[in-house]
Amino acid sequence: MNIALLLEMAADAAGDRVGLVCDGKRWTYGELIGAARGAAELIADSKAEFVALLDESSEASVIAMFGAALAGVPYCPLNYRLADADLGALLGRIAPALVVGDGERVEKLAGGQGHTVYPRGEFTLAALEAVANPDAVYDAGEGIAIQLFTSGTTAAPKAAILQHSNLVSYILGTVEFGAADEAEAALVSVPPYHIAGIAAIASSIYAQRRIVMLPAFAPDGWLKLVDAEKVTGAFVVPTMLSRIIHAMDKGVHADISSLRSIAYGGGKMPLELIHRALDLFPETGFTNAYGLTETSSTVALLGPDEHRAAHRSDDPRVRARLASVGIPLPTIELEIRDEEGRVLGPNQPGEIYVRGDQVSGQYRERSALDAEGWFPTRDAGYLDEDGYLFLSGRADDVIVRGGENISPGEIEDVVLTHPAIADAAAVAVPSVEWGEAVGLALVVRGGFDHPAEDEIRDLIRSRLRSSRVPETVRFFAALPYNEMGKLLRREVKVMLAG
């Protein structure tokens, strides 16, 4: 089934209802499907093999996504923050494409590749003006809906592909059609090239929850938009939540009493921050979502009631759940396996495997699924005795010291209890004796003196096994993160080697 049917259904059921608010302009579901059908004409005429977006979120990203789906061409939103050389290489991998957005940059980086370019405003206008053939037969949705280049924090970007069937399974399995009341509005501030941005559009439209788009995240703008549009729900990455709270502390004034729910994911949420947020927003339901591009977004979630229960509880086991990503969705299967592929029991750490209709696990070049259809996520973690999933970093980030596997997270968690340490990253550094050893990059909190290296080593030795004690400890002004708040461990390694 084609993902565009999600929008067609919303338009059939509530064509005059506002589905999208962007830059002060309001779009009904009827207008959006009309524009998507017009866009499908443009796309078909261009003979493009991909529809790419090189732009922030806007009405054009929604129209392009569903227009591409109707035309049967994969939609490939690109990360406009990439350096020229990296972006040029990605454009080369999807040529010839119909590119919506920054035409000058496409011309400069990929001028000879045969792309058809529409700046944002021209694309929207052309899609609205294109006359859709009333007898048009649209794509059946048996192929690829979305292609997303992974963020490449550990290696070169991979082209992850999602079939229409993957995304449709996710939406039908997790969202009730038309379930949102007229007052509900979801603030979407994640970039359009992130799976959470794609999933937010599809799920909000299917629920008929008005999308309020914030093209470029800034905490003040976010708070003001919640106030102005009476936003009821939002998805944020942890760094966004941190900056929103910081802005509130600084006295940015906004009435955010309409905000009933906040979902978060896409990176590790510091415990201190989520406790603070639960205190600061006592009436808001928090949901932690864990998912990957390759799994069409969420595969496990910790719901609002579980957040409050853990926040209130004196029972250490219940309280610890705030650091989990909750319970796997009922529509998927999830297992923890060791390096030989054996399924592990409760509390045994290993690699997370998932299986289900929403799981693609496919890349343009190859499939990562095993013979039984399981997708190895390369995320490390464990399930506790009650079925709550805890993450412990990327499997590729594990430090292997003399055959012993060390998870960076356990060292980072200990170091971060030191009052003078604001941020920490443990990565593998080459060691003649052990193959790999622990390297530790630290950031000192403002107003504190540099702790001595041995003080840090003693702290780790007092809490963990001696193999965890870092060989290298160095201090930096800041650690490298991508714009979604993901720590770039690849770059930390380079910093420690330099």
């Binding site: 089934m1 084609n2 049917l5 067609e8 259904m9 059939d12 059921a13 059946a140 949705g141 048996e142 229409h164 069937s165 039908l172 399995g173 997790t174 969202v175 009730e176 059609f177 038309g178 379930a179 979801a186 959470a196 999933a199 937010a200 799920s203 299917y206 629920a207 929850r209 729900g233 998805f235 729910s261 979902a263 994911g265 339901g285 949901t287 979502a289 998912g291 977004s297 969420t298 979630l301 719901g303 609002p304 969705l329 009922p330």
Partner: protein, 95 residues
């Protein structure tokens, strides 16, 4: 009758997308469904319970799943046995 295809009632306005299909004849309002629809069959009183937009319908054995994309007066059925609503546990919005 393959997953993804859209079928129409010949006895009412109902349209559905096939999500899962194993075997059998898919019916609505007492008449067989088809890709063309509009067959002008009479709505059977025994199969006039109606279909609801956006709801998924399954059989007891789980061999078929249909998504209603246009509502109508007929009851969806497989080989004469009415399909039932697939109840999904509501999940909090996560993205």
């Amino acid at each position: 009758m393959k997953p993804g295809s859209r079928i129409k009632s010949n006895a009412c306005d109902t349209e559905a997308v096939i999500i899962k299909y194993t075997a059998g004849t898919i019916q609505c309002g007492g008449a067989d469904m088809s890709e063309a629809g509009g067959g002008g069959a009479e709505l059977s009183a025994d199969f006039a319970g109606g279909s609801i937009m956006g709801k998924r319908y399954v059989d007891e054995a789980g061999t078929i799943e249909l998504l209603c994309v246009k509502p109508g007066k007929g009851t969806l059925a497989l080989d004469g046995a009415a399909l039932v609503l697939k109840e999904a546990k509501p999940l909090p919005a996560s993205d």
